[in-house]
Amino acid sequence: MIPPRFEYFAPSTLEEAVEILGRYGGEAKVLAGGQSLLPVMKLRLAEPKALVDINRIPNLSYIREEAGGLRIGSTARTNDLNDSDVVKRRYPILSDAAAVIADPLVRNMGTVGGNVSHGDPANDLPACMLALGAAFVVRGPKGTRTIPASSFYKDTFVTTLEPDEILTEIQIPKPKAGQGNAYEKLEKRAGDFPIVGVAANLILGANKKIESAGIGLTAVGPTALHAKAAADSLVGQAPGDAAFKRAADLAMKLAEPVSDLRGPAEYKRAMVGVFAVRALRTAAKRAGGGA
């Protein structure tokens, strides 16, 4: 399969890229790793008139920790998360997710920015970003704005990103003492899209009680879901199965899975519960809270 015809641009600055996107008024798409975009173009699910390749823009592919936390340039490859020591040590949820996104060959091309901004509810990183309270820096014709992950996802393949805006950086708050997180994914076979995925982030206070929590769900709704009620139910609780199961029940209530080849809706909903407890247990262990 060969994609439909399109104009191709490889600008060397963000300004130029934004200008081209604006000129095409929603008919152009940003090409980052292309591992989701090219397959949908081959299938004619997307037929953009132009592609704006952002890979020739310098300084857009980095992973570094600053005073405020982790900064990921939007064209950093998914495998760069696996290769990053700081991610492994301090943001283990991202290592969990990066290890189960597609396969190593796809991860060498696919970008972190593409994964979070494509808007596919089955992508693994959006749920992690929701759990971590991440924010996305985007560049448009009027300059730069920062969008919290919690208000970024609107509907399947629909985000608050305007057609002439480009995601440039992902910002993840610096981990606090007593913080732990994990991503648990259920898949039919290695490299597949998830049946369900659950991202969990816990911060334990000095008294070993949960001070704050974040939970994100993959593939059980029109977008990745921010399970706020489930996470809030954990605040003030001791980390352990009693609290985790209550939170898992709330996550199951929020989930709206649909029956498809990956399983019936009831099964998926049940698995949200199972995988929420597992993710919370691992997060608590990593936070130093036993469980």
């Binding site: 015809r5 104009e7 796809v106």
Partner: protein
Amino acid sequence: MVEAEVRMPEEAEVGPFVRIHVTVNGTPREAEVETRTLLVHFIREELRLTGTHIGCDTTNCGACTILLDGKAVKSCTILAVQADGRQIRTVEGLAEDGKLHPVQEGFVEEHGLQCGFCTPGMMMTTVALLAKNPNPTEDEIRHAIAGNLCRCTGYVNIVKAVQYAAKKSQGGGSK
């Protein structure tokens, strides 16, 4: 008899074109490609390097695996224009002076193939793996080849072939 309607493509149905420069197995190459040309088609049809196979064409099977700036990637899901200015290595670039690459030798010696269709991609992934991790464990090998599907071998001899190549590349000779 119904006469089939034959429609000739109009001029506007090809293009637009972009000129690209790539280095393929050490040799600089230059070509005019349609923007929508996939890298695998450029490699097979323009460069006539047919060792890189097209399997599923849907980013699943890994038969089209090549090295792009040293990283193993699926050339059916990359545009030829994306390779502009970059280094491409295909299976044809493995043997030197008629001598098989240790990875090729491993697949021969350990019977790491049956029908052979997945083999070029499997070997390119192996070359990238050993460059990064010269002495991988079995678990690391199995994870590294997770994007390369083989429907014949059951992977057992492929793992052995990779282990052979790892040993050979480190100067350990054949076992």
